[in-house]
């Protein structure tokens, strides 16, 4: 179901400063622009990526600016997949507490993974043998048609 004309891959590697998140956001926004998603869908994806990159910088690379965060964006006609990789030591996703439980409601942190889960269809963690955490975010795209409509072709 991949349409050659719509396939696209972008790979970005940045340092581990919070300002690098903005660079990632800009690349994501530009990549999504081409898909003509509706604003809501684009915002959801951008927010999930923001959380993934923030975690990579904060927990993975512990804000060491010399450590890299890699972001890979894969688009085909029907799905977007974004992979965010850090150089950290990983964690146990099963041990994460649910921020919606009453006893956690007033904690200031612990909501990033929830955001990723809610705003994407699917998120998945892999821990590399050589060190490093990969979080893969996927979303099926509803608002973008994989074929241009008649009107768009004429444009």
């Amino acid at each position: 179901m991949q349409l050659a004309g719509e396939d696209s891959q972008v790979h970005l590697a940045v340092g581990s400063r919070f300002e690098d998140i903005e660079l990632v956001q800009i690349v994501i926004a530009e990549s999504l622009t081409r898909l003509r998603l509706d604003d809501d869908e684009s915002e959801d994806i951008a927010l999930a990526v923001r959380e993934a990159v923030a975690n990579a910088i904060k927990h993975g690379n512990r804000e060491n600016p010399d450590k890299r965060v890699e972001v890979e964006v894969r688009l085909d006609g029907v799905e977007i997949e974004i992979r965010v990789t850090d150089e950290g030591r990983g964690f146990n996703p099963a041990g994460i507490r649910d921020p919606r439980e009453t006893e956690n409601l007033l904690r200031p942190d612990g909501r990033g993974i929830l955001f990723m889960r809610e705003f994407m269809d699917d998120i998945d963690y892999t821990f590399l043998d050589e060190g490093g955490t990969v979080v893969t975010l996927r979303k099926r795209l509803v608002s973008c048609s994989s074929e241009p409509t008649k009107e768009e072709e004429v444009e």
Binding site: F18, E19, I21, E43, L47, R50, E51, A54, K58, P99, R100, L105, L106, R107, P108, D109, R111, G112, L114, F115, E118
Partner: protein, 111 residues
């Protein structure tokens, strides 16, 4: 990120603009709340109307502000939340925690 502060019938109204996100906006919000408290405020209304993006750090700062103000015997409420912020408060179930108003007069009178 820029936060205006104004006063209405003893309530301090904070109006962040732009992004309340990790590393920038979250710090600005924390500072604005701290400043209001130092200036003697106890009732704080945060107007979220002009917030374009909020992430989990930004939400975390709202929660911290809520806790700090409440622990000091004050109140922190929200007004004019954009649809995306509303979604996020639903998702996180913080909608149970915050008192939220659409109308500013009503919000101010509720303190």
């Amino acid at each position: 990120m820029k936060i205006d502060a104004r006063h209405e019938k003893g309530v301090t109204i904070l109006e962040p603009r732009g992004k309340i996100t990790i590393g920038v906006g979250d710090v600005a919000l924390r500072n604005a709340v701290a400043e209001a408290l130092t200036a003697g405020a106890s009732d704080i209304l945060v107007n979220l109307e002009h917030v374009t993006t909020i992430d989990s750090s930004g939400i975390g700062e709202l929660v911290s502000a809520y806790t700090t103000v409440t622990n000091r015997g004050g109140k922190l409420k929200l007004e004019k939340i954009p649809p995306k912020v509303s979604d996020i408060l639903q998702i996180t179930q913080l909608i149970q925690v915050f008192e939220i108003y659409d109308d500013e007069k009503e919000a101010v009178d509720s303190f």
